[in-house]
């Protein structure tokens, strides 16, 4: 169970890292078509990975809240805690 949480979270982290790296590259190369396509591809992948994670394990961002009777944003674990 925990392993699955870790795996799904890692998938989001990998996509987000690629997006941050590509974002910073695009800042100084804003017309690089290959980099733009690369960003688009992983942005799509990120959306899927984040949806899969948040449906099972709760929000990564406040916008992930989907109703329900508890503000599960406050639920452990928080990122700095060894999970």
């Amino acid at each position: 169970m925990e392993d699955n949480r870790e795996m799904l979270l890692k998938r989001v982290q990998i996509c987000d890292f690629i997006l941050v790296e590509t974002n910073e590259y695009l800042d100084t190369h804003p017309n690089d078509q290959a980099a733009l396509d690369y960003f688009k591809k992983y942005n799509e992948m990120r959306r899927t990975a984040a949806k899969e994670f948040t449906e099972k394990y709760g929000p990564l961002n406040m916008w992930d809240f989907e109703g329900g009777n508890r503000w599960n944003w406050v639920d452990d674990p928080w990122p700095w805690e060894k999970q």
Partner: protein, 201 residues
């Protein structure tokens, strides 16, 4: 505006606490080449930056540095869990513990509190970007020194990730300086400061 993502940029999972390591690694939180200074430097400098590409670089790298501050803090936090007073005394962590227990406080390894005097925001495009290039190298060499002191692979792994990011940021700031210089007088980069002097029509 910023929003929080409830995850680290890169995993930090440290099995064994080690307060002696925490005592030196905390420098990359609040020390002279640390992540708090890095974020503050770039996010302050961007207001006097005239070029969109470089406004983007300062904003996005500054934002990433906030995530690195969180990673360094997580490393220190995990290295100082479940300590006994005896372990604290033996490790030399007692000098920190006296004031901060095991809370996170931005300071250098040598014990001095975080100071904005470790960074510059000059309002001069070339001076700021040159400062940023040096800052990335100083952060890199600090991670190199920490990697010389740390043998636990659980701790080395995130430190290596952070070190690699300094190299990438150095590259982006190099490109930023080139972009800025392309906007300047090619015969004299210092003929005017585009963040202050009115450009000649």
């Amino acid at each position: 505006m910023w929003s929080y993502s409830k995850k680290l940029q890169y995993p930090v999972k440290i099995e064994r606490p080690n307060p002696a390591m925490a005592k030196v690694i905390i420098s990359q939180f609040g020390g002279p080449h640390g992540e708090l200074g890095a974020a503050t430097r770039y996010l302050s400098q961007r207001y006097s930056m005239p070029y969109g590409e470089v406004k983007g670089v300062l904003t996005d790298i500054g934002t990433e540095e906030l995530g690195h501050m969180e990673m360094v803090s997580a490393i220190v936090y995990q290295l100082t869990r479940n300590l006994t007073p005896d372990e604290i005394k033996k490790s030399g962590f007692d000098v920190y513990f006296a004031d901060h227990t095991t809370g996170l406080y931005p300071q250098a390894a040598s014990g001095s509190a975080f100071s904005a005097e470790t960074l510059a925001s000059t309002g001069d495009v070339i001076a700021d970007l040159t400062e940023d290039l040096a800052a990335e190298q100083k952060a890199r060499l600090t991670y190199d020194n920490l990697l010389r002191l740390v043998d636990d692979p659980d701790v080395r792994d995130p430190l290596k990730f952070l070190r690699a990011r300094e190299l990438v940021h150095f590259q982006r700031f190099g490109e930023s300086l080139r972009i800025a210089q392309d906007h300047l007088d090619a015969k004299n980069f210092y003929a005017f400061n585009p963040a202050f002097d009115m450009p000649k029509k």
